[in-house]
């Protein structure tokens, strides 16, 4: 059984994993990182999106062995010092979640979208979130939240 080393939310783990073990199951069932939920088996819904070495991946479609030597950030490790990330706060402010099941993945995808395009238009936000499905919000408030999150994050970067 392959042994992998993976850093998750700042903590280093060494784990023996079956080659077929999905990354999301490693996170949820071995490391107790249940903030990342599973919504589908086909990587369509995006609920399980996490950051792998700074880029968003759908953790139901990655194998645990692929995370060997990598740095994983889940929704539980996103904020700093007990406070929420600006994007998490923006989702709260804009009422961009209802049942909240898609939310961790949606927040991760939104942050990754801004990595590539820090000031996206509404169209760019909608296209950027195409891989993350929500059944509650109709996306209107999610789009607003991403825009607000972008402003807050921009401010965080530009403010000394």
């Amino acid at each position: 059984m392959p042994r992998i080393t993976v850093t998750v939310d700042g903590i280093k783990y060494e784990e023996d994993v079956e080659p077929r073990l999905l990354l999301v199951h490693l996170l949820r069932e071995r490391l107790g990182k249940t903030g990342t939920p599973v919504g589908c088996d086909t990587s369509n819904c995006g609920a399980c999106t996490v950051m792998l070495d700074g880029k968003s991946v759908k953790s139901c479609s990655a194998l645990a062995v692929q995370a060997d030597g990598c740095d994983v950030v889940t929704i539980e490790g996103l904020g700093a010092n007990g406070s929420m990330h600006p994007m998490q706060r923006a989702f709260h402010e804009e009422h961009a979640l209802q049942c909240g099941y898609c939310t961790p993945g949606m927040v991760m995808a939104a942050i990754d979208l801004l990595r590539e395009n820090p000031e996206p238009s509404e169209e760019a936000i909608r296209e950027g979130l195409e891989g993350n499905l929500c059944r509650c919000t109709g996306y209107c408030n999610i789009v607003k939240a991403v825009r607000r999150g972008a402003q807050e994050m921009g401010r965080a970067v530009t403010t000394p």
Binding site: T34, H92, T103, Y139, C140
Partner: protein, 788 residues
């Protein structure tokens, strides 16, 4: 101290922080010491006799604790319940949680494996040997009813029939100047809540606890006790965080029953979590009706009578409220319109498919679609504006309360105001001008405008009325308020939220009623050991029934606090006035806050005669009548006549949901509903092949809209308070879904009318629109040919 009014205030949700930071308790997050994982082997055939099931191969594999067939549980698994026998002639077939001798849809469970982890369980499923003797699948409702059709059940394929008549329908149609006659298909939908279902069952040998991703912990507890024989007082049901339901978790499922029975048999906790592809096969489906609608009208557009004939696909079995769903629409086909006569007939039909049941609006979206499409056809026939046809027929604002032809009494509403507001926001006249211009220019991209004026029947429900419709339970709701010694407040509700923000809204209600800070209130729910009474969450009933129960409980607490305050302040209760959370002796500065009194009631050192310790109270509310939100939705679409592509250009919704507790939550619910209604119009459909295999088992095949597929919706409101409850609220959960589907399809047909098209079957995919255009063009060419 100034106290800000909480009701009506756009409060950010108390629920959010946990959900945003991953500190959630989805059922699949939960674990118990020694927990085992269950997986089910499911039928690959739509209809077959089970000749043999051999699970021994699975039992020998590493990590496998047990494996069972349906036969192994035949004696104890009972039958899944149907609580709504709608008619005298209803046939409720035996519905074993695991099939014993026959399977009737693809996905029906035939065996299960219990293993130490889900990977081992999945491996072991492959070692189970099942021998099937295939029987013919029965998929089409008309064919199912035809003589000589293969039988889904021994008793035949008719589940029930219902007929309702009001007024002289023959007279209404006799010599009617206009008769519109149309047949519409409500395609089968897959609810697709983001959280797949999950169940965890545990026992200490005597008592049982079941965690389930359910909307209905209270109903589920009663039903599980009845089905399994586990005494109700030894069974606790918990709905932890639930990731959406939309009716699909308003069910008593095979998996819930079986997990409980497996925990009993093995004496260990067992968990089952469905995969999405398993869920698409086995979460009950929605809609699936064929509607034959005939409408008779005068030459000026006044409706004389409406005849509705429904075929409703039950699927293979009747589940919790399956036969009741089309009947919920029975009194809504006449919608907001006045007419002389109405006839409704419905036949429920068994087919070899997944059963249908409640889904997002449950019967009312179907009815609204039927009438709103036909109203547009009437307008086209008479060359009237579709809005004008509606104006001619709807109930005017000064005619409320109004008893409709189907016997419901609408308490309040103002269809004129909502419609005028929506038309202005939409820019109706300007868009009509653009439409005319595009038509004149022969623009390949045509503009279509769709209107939908709707009402819905919310607040399920008055128990008396449910009794009249033969429903197996009441519709009351429970609320409980307890002031803690420190003055903080715990509200307990019998409703069971799954995204609707009850904790926030109920906090607002209690904060206002008791005059305490919003932050000082918490809300408990979803656990039958804590929220010990309730009827749960569905049918937009939570606020208008459950929220009112909380309000009533607060009033009772206040009355008790008044007696205590009078005692402490040594005055008569009548000398006290209540303001800003305090009882004040009139004309003095002497006062006690309700939060201070909570401590006095806790110490109980000095209570007045007849007043018991602790400041708390319970209340139930059972409304006199349903509530009737309404509204006007308008949709503009651009239809590319060369490719069939439909693009929503703008969408306006003006809803009247009565008094609003939290405008943010109302808006969010409407957004989500509209998205779903648009999805039915344009994208979603459960598709079975001729053998009864579901072809849309994944999210890659079943097309749910993403952010890129939808526009931003423009919302506004009017407010006609409900008179059937003291909050004046009407319910909002289903409004968007009910209104939007016909608005979108009306817009598409409006765009295509100059091409001779008067209907496109849902979902109106580019291919369907393109085919409709092509077929129409071919017909025209053929007619030209005949003429020449």
């Amino acid at each position: 101290m100034t106290v800000q009014q909480e009701i009506g205030r756009p409060r950010r949700r108390k629920e959010d922080a946990r959900l945003l930071t991953g500190r959630t308790q989805w059922t699949d997050n939960l674990s118990r010491p020694g927990m085992l994982h269950v997986m089910f082997l499911r039928s690959p055939m739509a209809h077959a006799r089970i000749a043999r099931v051999d699970v021994s191969g699975a039992r020998d594999l590493p990590g496998v604790v047990a494996a069972f067939s349906g036969q192994d549980f035949a004696a104890e698994q009972g039958s899944l319940p149907c609580a709504w026998p709608v008619s005298e002639d209803v046939v409720i077939p035996d519905h074993p949680p695991m099939a014993v001798s026959e399977v009737r849809y693809v996905g029906e469970a035939v065996a299960c494996v219990i293993a130490t982890d889900r990977y081992r369980a999945a491996d072991a499923l492959e070692a189970i040997d099942v021998e099937y003797e295939q029987l013919p699948a029965v998929l089409d409702m008309n064919e199912a009813l035809a003589e000589g059709s293969p039988k889904v059940h021994e008793a035949g394929n008719k589940a029930f029939s219902v007929k309702i008549n009001s007024g002289d329908i023959e007279a209404a149609f006799r010599d009617a100047p206009v008769v519109i006659d149309r047949t519409y298909r409500q395609q089968r939908l897959i609810p697709s809540a983001m959280e797949p279902r999950a169940v965890l069952a545990d026992t200490d040998g005597e008592a049982f606890t079941l965690w389930s991703s359910t909307q209905i912990p209270h109903v589920l507890r009663v039903m599980l006790a009845v089905v399994t024989g586990i005494p109700e007082h030894r069974l606790r049901v918990i709905a932890p965080d639930v990731g959406g339901g939309f009716g699909s978790k308003l069910q008593v499922t095979a998996e819930e029953v079986l997990c409980l029975l497996l925990a009993r048999r093995l004496g260990r906790p067992v968990k089952w979590t469905e995969s999405r592809s398993e869920g698409n096969l086995t979460v009950h489906h929605g809609r699936d009706q064929i509607q034959h609608i005939r409408l008779a009208a005068d030459a000026d557009g006044r409706i004389r009578g409406l005849r509705v004939g429904l075929l409703a696909d039950m699927g293979a079995y009747l589940m919790l409220v399956t036969p009741g769903i089309p009947l919920l629409g029975a009194s809504m086909f006449n919608a907001i319109y006045k007419m002389d006569a109405y006839e409704f007939g419905c036949t429920g039909v068994f087919t070899t498919k997944m059963p249908t049941d409640a889904y997002r609006g449950a019967g009312r979206p179907e009815a609204t679609f039927g009438i709103e499409r036909v109203m547009d056809e009437l307008a086209a026939e008479l060359k009237m504006d579709p809005v004008d046809v509606r104006r001619r027929n709807w109930i005017k604002h000064d005619e409320f309360p109004y008893t409709t032809i189907s016997g419901l009494t609408y308490d309040s509403g103002n269809y004129e105001a909502a419609t005028e507001k929506a038309l202005a926001l939409f820019g109706y006249d300007k868009l009509r001008a653009e439409q005319a211009d595009r038509r004149d220019r022969g623009d390949p991209v045509q503009l279509g405008l769709g209107v939908s004026t709707y009402t819905e029947m919310c607040g399920l429900a008055p128990s008396r009325m449910l009794g009249e419709s033969n429903y197996g339970a009441g519709g009351w709701e429970h609320g409980s308020v307890r002031m803690l010694p420190t003055g903080k407040v715990e509200v307990i509700t019998g409703t069971s939220p799954h995204g609707q923000g009850h904790v926030t809204s109920w906090s607002q209600i209690a904060a206002d009623a008791l005059g305490v800070p919003f932050e000082d209130v918490t809300v408990l729910h979803g656990d039958t050991a804590i929220a010990h009474k309730g009827m749960d969450t569905y049918g937009s009933r939570s606020l208008v029934v459950g929220g009112v129960a909380v309000l009533k409980a607060c009033d009772k607490v206040k009355e008790k606090a008044r007696k205590l305050a009078a005692h402490v302040l040594e005055c008569s209760p009548d000398d006290l006035e209540f303001a800003a959370g305090a009882f004040k002796v009139r004309g003095t500065d002497q006062q006690k806050t309700v939060q201070e009194l909570a401590y006095a009631a806790f110490t109980a050192h000095d209570l007045p005669e007849g007043v018991e310790a602790r400041l708390d109270s319970d209340a139930t509310f059972d409304p006199e009548n349903y509530s009737f939100p309404h509204g006007t939705h308008l949709c503009a679409v651009e239809v590319d006549t060369e490719t069939g592509m439909v693009k929503i250009r703008s969408y306006v919704a003006v809803d009247d949901v009565g008094k609003v507790v939290n405008p943010l939550i109302v808006e969010g619910q409407v957004h989500g509903g509209i998205a779903q209604g648009i999805a039915q119009a344009l994208f979603e459909e459960a598709v079975y092949d001729a053998e009864g295999n579901l072809l849309t088992t994944t999210m890659a095949d079943y097309l749910m809209p993403s952010a890129a597929d939808l526009p931003t919706f423009d919302l506004d409101r009017t407010e006609s308070p409900a008179t059937s409850n003291p909050l004046g609220a009407k319910g909002v959960g289903e409004a968007g879904t009910i209104a939007s589907t016909p608005a979108v399809v009306n817009a598409i047909v409006d765009a295509l009318r100059p091409h001779g098209i008067h209907d496109v079957e849902m979902p109106c995919t580019p291919e369907r629109v393109w085919r409709a255009l092509r077929e129409r063009a071919q017909e025209e060419r053929a007619q030209e040919g005949v003429r020449q």
